[in-house]
Amino acid sequence: MALTQFKRLLIRSVRQLCERKAYLFCMIVVPVGMAFFFLSLLGEGLPLDVPTAVVDLDNSTLSRNITRNLSTVETIDISMKLSSFDEAMQKVRGGEIFGFFYIPADLQKDALAGNTPTISYYSNMTYFVPGTLAYKGFKTMAVTASGAIVQGKLVDAGIGQSTADVLLQPVVIDINGIGNPWMNYSYYLTPSFVSGVLELMIFLVTIFSICMEMKSGTSPEWLRMSNGSIVGAVMGKLLPQTIVFWIVGLFLNVLLFKFYHFPMNGSWLWMSVAMIIYVMACQGFALLVVSVVPNMRLALSICSLTGILAFSVAAFSYPVQSMYGAVGIFSYILPVRYYFLIYIDQALNGLDVYYSRYYFVALLVFVALPFVALRNLRRHALNPVYIP
C-alpha cells in the first residue's frame, strides 16, 4: 500500500470522526468530563464529619465529658443529641445519621463503683465509608474514656504519672501507609476510575467505528482503499483515534499529577509510556473482540460488559486475591488492571520500573493480540452483513 493511499485512508477516517458529534462526545467530553467529575466529587480525600448522634441517658460529669470529647473527633460530627435508643434507630433508618454513641444510665456511678458498665456504639454499615469512619471515631472515644479512668486509678494507687501513661499502652503499633499516609480515598478511586472510563470509551469507539463500515455497507470500499490489506485498513481507521486518545490520556496524567498533585514518586517518563501503550492495548482488546465477533451489537455488548465489570473485577477497591479463583483470573484479561498496577508501582510507590516489567509486557500483548484474528474481520468486511 502506497503512502498516498494510506493518507487517503486517514483523511477518510478523520472525516468520519468529524461527521458525528457522538465521536467528539465519547472521545473527549466523556473521559475529560468524568475526570473533572471525580476530582470535584472526591476533592476532600475522605468524607469526614459523618453525621452521627449521641444518646446520653446518664447526664453525669463523666458522660458530658465523653460527649464533649466526641464532638472533637475529626471523623464524626455529632449533629444530634437524642433521648432514647428507639429514636436513634429511627434516625438511622431515615438516613439522617450513620451511627450513634449510647451512654447508659448510671454510667459514672457504676464505673466508679467497679461495676463495669457498658457503653455501646452503633455504626450503619450499609454505607461502607461513613459506617467505617463512624466506627473508628466511636471506638477511639470509647477506649480513651475508659483509659482515662484507669489512669486516674493508677495515679491514685501511687504510681507515677509517667509510669501510668506507659501502663495504659505499653506497646504501640505505629501504622505507616506507604505512599499514601493520608489515606486519601481519591488517590485510588480517581486514577483507577478515570483510566477505566478511558478504557470503556476506547472499546466502544473502536468497535462502533469499524462496525459502522459494515452497517452502512461501505466496508468493501474501505478495504479497496488499502488494496485489500486489512492491517492497512484498520491502521488507517484507528490511527487518528489513537492520536486523539493519546492526547486525552496524557492530558489526564498532567491534570492529575501536575495540577491536582496526585502522588508522583516515580518517573513521568514511565507513566507517559504506560499511557501510550495502554491506549493501544485497549484498542487492541476491542479489535480482537470485533475480529472474533464481527457483529456490532454483540461486540459492543461484550465490551460494555467487560468494560463495566472492569471497575469491580480489576480490583480497584476489592483485592483479586480475595476473589474466587475463577473470577480472579478474569481480572487479568483487562488492560486497565495492568495500567492500575503500573500506577501503584510507579506513581504511588515510586518503585523501580523493573518491578513493573510484566505489566508492560502484558499491555504489549494486548496490542499484538488482534493480529491473529484480523483475517476473520477481513472476510466479514468483504461481505458486510448487518444484524440489527
Binding site: P47, S120, N124, T126, I149, L154, A157, D174, R297
Partner: protein, 403 residues
Amino acid sequence: MNSLTRNIGNWFSYAAKVWRREFYLVTHDAGALIFFVLLPLFYPVVYTVIYNPEVVRDLPVAVVDNSRTAESRELVRMLDATPAIKLGGYAADMEEARTRMAEKDVFGVVEIPEDYARKIGRGEQVVVNFYSDMSLLLRYRSFVSALTDVQLATGAQIRQELMNQTGLSLAASSGSPINNEAYFLGDTEQGFASFIIPGIVVLILQQSMLLGITLLGGTASERRRKNRGVDPMAIPGAPASATVIGKAMCYTVIYLPLAIYILHFIPEWFNLPHEGSAVDYLLFIFPMLLASSFLGLTLCRFVKEREMAFLLIVFTSVLLLFLSGLTWPRYAMSDLWHWVGDCIPVVWGVEGFIRINSNGASLAENATAFYWLWGLSAVYFVLAWIYFRSLKRKARGVGNLNQ
C-alpha cells in the same frame, strides 16, 4: 359530555395499542431482549460472585525481628493468629522486606525494634512499626483493625505482668472500668458484598432499562429517517401523551417481575441483608421504574442510531454509581452534585432500597425518596411528552408536503 367520554375512551384505546405494539417490538428485538431480560437476570449474579467471599483475610506480612526474644516471637504469634494477617516469613532487614513488598510477596512489614523485650521489662513504652502497602484501602483497613486488637491484647497482657511484678493488685488493672461494645447495623458481617450489592442491583434495574429504551428509540429513529420522518411501526394518530404512557407502561410491567427477582431473590439466595417487608420495597420501587421509563423516553431524543445507546448510556453507570452515594456518601457532596443526583431516579432508588432492605426501614420512613420519585416521574413524563409531540409534528409536516 358524550364527546368527552369518547375522547377519554379513545385515548385509552390508543395507549393500549401503543403498549401492545411496544411489547411486540421488544419481544422481536434480540438486542432489546438482552437489555431487558438477560442483563437484569445475570448481572446481579455476576456481581455477587465477584464480591461474595466478603472479607479480606490472610494477608501475607513479612517480619523484621531485630529483638529476637521470646517476647517478640510472642507478638509475631499473636499477629499471625488474627484472621487478617498471615505470617509471610522473616526478613533479615528492612531492605529485604522492602524488596519483598515490591515483588508483591507480602503486603505489610512489621519491624520490631531491637530493644523490644528490654523496654517491656523496664516498664517503658515501646513502639513497633508497621508498614502497609497502600495499593488497596480495604487491605489497609483490615490491617488497622487487626493491629489495634493485637495492640490492646498485648497491652493488657503486659500490664498484668508488670502489675504482678510490682506487687500491685488493683481491681481496675486486669481490665477496663468501662466495657465497650460495637454494633454494626444493616451489614452486620461488614462484608463487601452485603454492602455493595443491594445498591448495585437497583442501579442495574435503571441502567438496563435505559439501555433497552434508547436502543428501541434509536431503531425507531433509523426507521423514521428511512421513511421521511414517519415511523411505520408507530400507532398512527395516537396522541403524544398516549404514546409516552403506553410505552412507559410496557417497560414498567416488563420490569415488575424482574424487580421481584432482583430485590427479593438475589438477597435471599446469596445471604445478603434482607430485612424490609416486600410490600414496602415493591411499592417503593414502582415509581422508580416509572420515572426511569420516562427518563429513557426523554433520552431517546439524543439517540439517533440503534447502537448509539451503548456509546451514550453505558458510561453513565459509573457516574451514577458515585452520585448514588454508594461509594462516596451524599452528605459529603457539593451542592452541585447533590442537586444533579436529586434529578436521577436511581439515586433515590438506591438510597431508599438500601434503607428498606438492609436497615429494615418502612416506606413511611422513606417518604422523602418516595415523593421525589413520583415528582421525577411527572417531570420526565412532561419532557418525554414534549419530545414525542415534536416528532408527531415533524411527521405531520412531512405528510402535508406529500399532499
